[in-house]
Amino acid sequence: MTVDPVTTPRSRARVITFVLIVLLLALSAIPIVALWRAFGPKVIVAPDFALIDQDARPFKLSGLRGHPVVVFFGYTHCPDVCPTTLAHLAKAVHSPTVPGDEHVVFITVDPDRDSPSVLKRYVRLFDPEFIGLTGSLKSLEPVYAAYHTARQAVPNNHGPNDYSIVHGTSLYYVGRDGIMKGFGSWEDDKPELTQDLKRFQ
């Protein structure tokens, strides 16, 4: 005589216990998801902006959706930090270990001196593919605010057109999906940058 394993009282109890455990786990996932949403890593869409590129054409960040983007703020009269950063980025994006479709977007903090043509001559020193952006201070200020950065002009000693600008020096990694993936430091050289470019797709 054969015994149906499902219909015996012991195995029925086992099935019920199993179902209860699955139900309990499923129910406990709801508060876990809620806790994760509240306290876990937040997904931030990189704030979109509309500015003017080095060819004086309108540019929107969302137009680069599908490509990883590195955003950096600086100005062309900056002798030290900005060219160091752009030179490192130029080397990193040409590294054979990164996908190679990254875009580097350089947003000026000095719209008075950085016209599209000045930006064009500047960015192509590093890489002709780099994008240099400018606009009116009125259109740029919300971008600085959205990216939690700031600028402050400091006069130098050779007339009114001779000034430096104190500015934030973070690198912003925007993924192909337009989500902010992470941040970098201007001091990062090729090894750190290529690693970040691989990580923050």
Binding site: H77, D80, V81, P83, K91, L125, H148, V166, M180
Partner: protein, 155 residues
Amino acid sequence: MIRHVLRVLLFMVGLPCLAAAETPAVSVADAWSRPATGTGVIYATLHNNAAVADRLIGASSPLARHIGLHQTSEMKMPGMSTSMGNMPMTGSMTSMKAVLSIPVPAHGTTSLAPGGYHLMLDLRRDLKPGETVPLRLRFARAGWVTTGAQVRPIH
């Protein structure tokens, strides 16, 4: 006769000066720059071979209208956000200030390097990769030192 004595005296005075010129009190090594337009930079290593401290107090080049001595420093901006959402940002700002002089300690070395001391050039023309920028550095004690800064290609 007097003229001859003077000539000998001048020679005797001149000799130590010549000797001093052969082993300069301050020597400049590895001066380099980057391709640039409008504003340029020069980095270098300054060695002080003398037993007394010296200071770099100025620089000039035929390729620059003027050269400033600068120092970059990292600063925290009060009230500046250090995160976006809850992703931490460096939150750092860099400021660059003009300095009157750059110290070179006795028997010591001072590096002009990215993120620290550097020379800022208001360029008369663009700097091309591979060329050399003629440069004269002026020290408070050692006087003028002539060198050249190599324009290193980006890649």
